[in-house]
């Protein structure tokens, strides 16, 4: 179906666990997906569904007690395929990929810039780490990048410290930091959640622009269905450490097959919703990740659960890359 050269990332049966003092939390439980170059993959789901952990597993930036126990993550660089999950966590090979090949943006721009270094220093540091370049030249590139991202008088603002920047400007600086080495893949973990709505749109627009310019692939993690619909080419819906539905935007949003995807879509307010019509909520709450229900994790909250749901549903290919993990997806689910 895909020629290998088209792919940038392949995740196969990824399992990431957190080993706490007394219990083990299976944060990511057998996640598989492939990403093509230049596309945007939106990963959606409630908080705690494992979307962030999946992203952090790719670059091995997990907290100390988290570790990848099974599965593989293959990154296709220009020099061939690299098995990321086999690399040492902070070894030189992994570090050569971080920042250079794969850039990251985090949720809270206020917290993700170091308060004691200038913005320019922090951006330039990414360049000097990966390229043999003078400090002044690196600063020059940082200024260019910030100017491109719409920061006025970038050559003077670059000497500012993070506390002198507004929230939106900090996130622009973070994008500059992540993009300055022209990475092939950008992982954005809830990049706009902490920002005002008006700023959110600007930041997303900038990310699109950068993608067009550099042909970057983006993994966009969010819980906001509207943002995915706007930004993504493909969507992965995650629930309790598994991808429950995967497909193109058209497939997943146009004809959602998993009850959880449907429930998520129905819980989003849409302009022009009929008067008197109520937003649906998903009943119950997510189960305790260290004490998961047997079989399908969503079954206890699902309106369509049957006896069959006591066993873990298989990944069903609906054709055209649309995959669903549900026993009832073929039948006519009607609400």
């Amino acid at each position: 179906m895909n020629s290998e050269s088209d792919l940038i990332l392949k995740v196969d049966n990824l399992q990431t666990q957190f080993h706490l003092s007394r219990r083990v939390v299976k944060a990511v439980n057998g996640v598989s997906f492939q990403m093509k170059r230049g596309r945007t993959l939106g990963v959606v789901g409630e908080s705690g569904c494992g979307k962030s952990v999946t992203a952090h597993s790719i670059v091995q930036l997990l907290p100390k007690m988290g570790r990848i126990v099974d599965g593989s993550i293959t990154y296709y660089s220009s020099n061939g395929a690299v098995e990321l999950s086999k690399l040492k966590r902070n070894g030189s090979e992994m570090r050569a990929i971080r920042g250079k090949e794969i850039g990251m943006i985090f949720q809270d721009p206020m917290a993700s810039l170091n308060p004691v270094f200038t913005i320019g220093h922090q951006i330039a540091e990414n360049i000097t780490q990966h390229e043999k370049i003078s400090r002044a030249a690196a600063m020059e590139r940082a200024v260019e990048m910030l100017t491109m991202l719409g920061i006025p008088q970038a050559s003077t603002r670059i000497k500012d410290y993070p506390h002198q920047f507004s929230g939106g400007m900090k996130q622009r600086a973070m994008i500059a930091l992540a993009m300055v080495c022209n990475p092939k893949l950008l992982i954005a973990d809830e990049p706009t959640t902490a920002l005002d709505v008006t700023i959110q749109a600007q930041i997303l627009e900038l990310m699109k622009e950068m993608q067009h310019k550099y042909g970057t692939s983006i993994i966009l993690i969010t819980h906001n269905m509207g943002i995915v619909a706007d930004m993504a080419d493909d969507i992965a819906v995650m629930y309790m450490g598994r991808i429950v539905e995967f497909g193109t935007v058209r497939q997943v949003l146009g004809s959602p097959r998993h009850p959880y995807t449907r429930a998520l879509l129905q819980s989003v307010p849409v302009l022009g919703i009929a008067k008197g019509e109520r937003l649906k909520t998903i009943r119950g709450s997510t189960p305790d990740p260290s004490d998961m229900p047997e079989g399908c994790e969503f079954a206890p909250r699902c309106d369509f659960a049957t006896k069959q749901c006591k066993t873990v549903p298989a990944d069903t290919d609906l054709g055209g890359g649309h995959r669903v993990r549900c026993w009832n997806c073929m039948g006519g689910l009607t609400t």
Binding site: L61, K64, S112, P115
Partner: protein, 318 residues
């Protein structure tokens, strides 16, 4: 930057002034004639000395506030008065004693900040390792053991049993050179700084663990920086500020501790002088020594302030 420094410096001047006023009042409250200490002992001893006429001549019968300013300007010129006990000039006494105490306190400060911060750093990076548990035990002992008890044990082990270090004193007669100085100062300074080392270690560990969980540390790692650079440059720079604040807060304790440590190790500093003066009720010596201690604390905390401002742009730009 310069404005900030000037502001900080100017703001300790009123404190210094208030301290001198308190000391002056304290001296006025001393039993007996509080002014005798200002009279040179040769004069006091001479046969034809008349206290009343001398006071009049020196203006010691002037109103209190006039006396205060005279006393204050005299102090600025180094006229600190004379001991009530043996008539030695207090300035001379201090000239002998102050350098010894400064040497001891500075050595303790340097040893304990370096040791405490480095050990705390190791503990935080290797959390729950054997080294971490070892440090925790040292930390607990450090805050619980009385300094003099630790000093006695140290003398017992390193001087008497092993014979590695001298029992006490600063420098023996005829001895000189950096090595013998080091030999004498090492044990008292370590003991004096032990509780500070423990406190700094515990605190550094705590703040570092806190900082290592911050997003900007993740950002640093996401750039592919080597781990030592992430820890030393990005995490430690941020953890250092609260640690320095703790250091500032603990300074009076360190300087006060010299009194006990000097007594244990026979260190010829201000502590011993103060102690003798207290037992002999030599009020002027007590008060002047106290004033100097307060000055030392104020000055040291000013220096710490400067250091914080150098490290933290948020303080500098406020």
């Amino acid at each position: 930057m310069l404005k900030y420094f000037t502001f900080r410096f100017l703001s300790i001047i009123p404190m210094l002034f208030v301290v001198t006023i308190i000391i002056f009042i304290g001296l006025q409250l001393t039993p007996g004639d509080p002014l005798t200490y200002l009279i040179p002992p040769e004069l006091l001893a001479s046969a034809n000395f008349d206290l009343a006429s001398y006071k009049k001549a020196m203006g010691l019968d002037a109103p209190l506030y006039v006396q205060f300013f005279r006393w204050f300007s005299g102090m600025l010129q180094g006229k600190l008065g004379y001991s009530l006990v043996d008539g030695t000039s207090i300035a001379t006494m201090l000239g002998h004693r102050l350098p010894a105490t400064l040497e001891l306190a500075a050595a303790a400060l340097i040893i304990s900040s370096v040791l405490g911060i480095v050990l705390g750093l190791i503990s935080s990076v290797r959390q729950n390792s054997a080294a971490d548990y070892g440090n925790t035990v040292i930390g607990i002992i450090g805050i619980s053991i009385p300094e003099f008890f630790l000093g006695i044990i140290a003398i017992q082990i390193f001087s008497i049993k092993l014979g590695w270090l001298p029992v006490g004193g600063r420098l023996d007669y005829g001895e000189s050179g950096f090595l013998s100085l080091l030999k004498h100062v090492a044990m008292p300074a370590l003991v004096l700084g032990f509780s500070l080392t423990a406190a700094l270690m515990r605190y550094t560990r705590g703040t570092m663990l806190d900082v290592l969980g911050k997003d900007y540390v993740k950002t640093a790692r996401s750039k592919g920086l080597p781990e030592w650079k992430v820890i030393v440059k990005h995490a430690f720079r941020n953890a250092l500020m609260p640690v320095i604040l703790l250091l500032c807060f603990r300074l009076p304790m360190l300087i006060g501790g010299t009194v006990i440590i000097e007594s244990v190790f026979g260190w010829p500093g201000m502590g011993g002088m103060l102690l003798n003066a207290v037992s002999a009720k030599d009020y002027p010596v007590v008060m002047i020594a106290t004033m100097l201690t307060a000055f030392m604390v104020l000055l040291a905390s000013f220096l710490v302030d400067l250091l914080t401002a150098l490290l933290d742009p948020r303080v500098r730009f406020d």
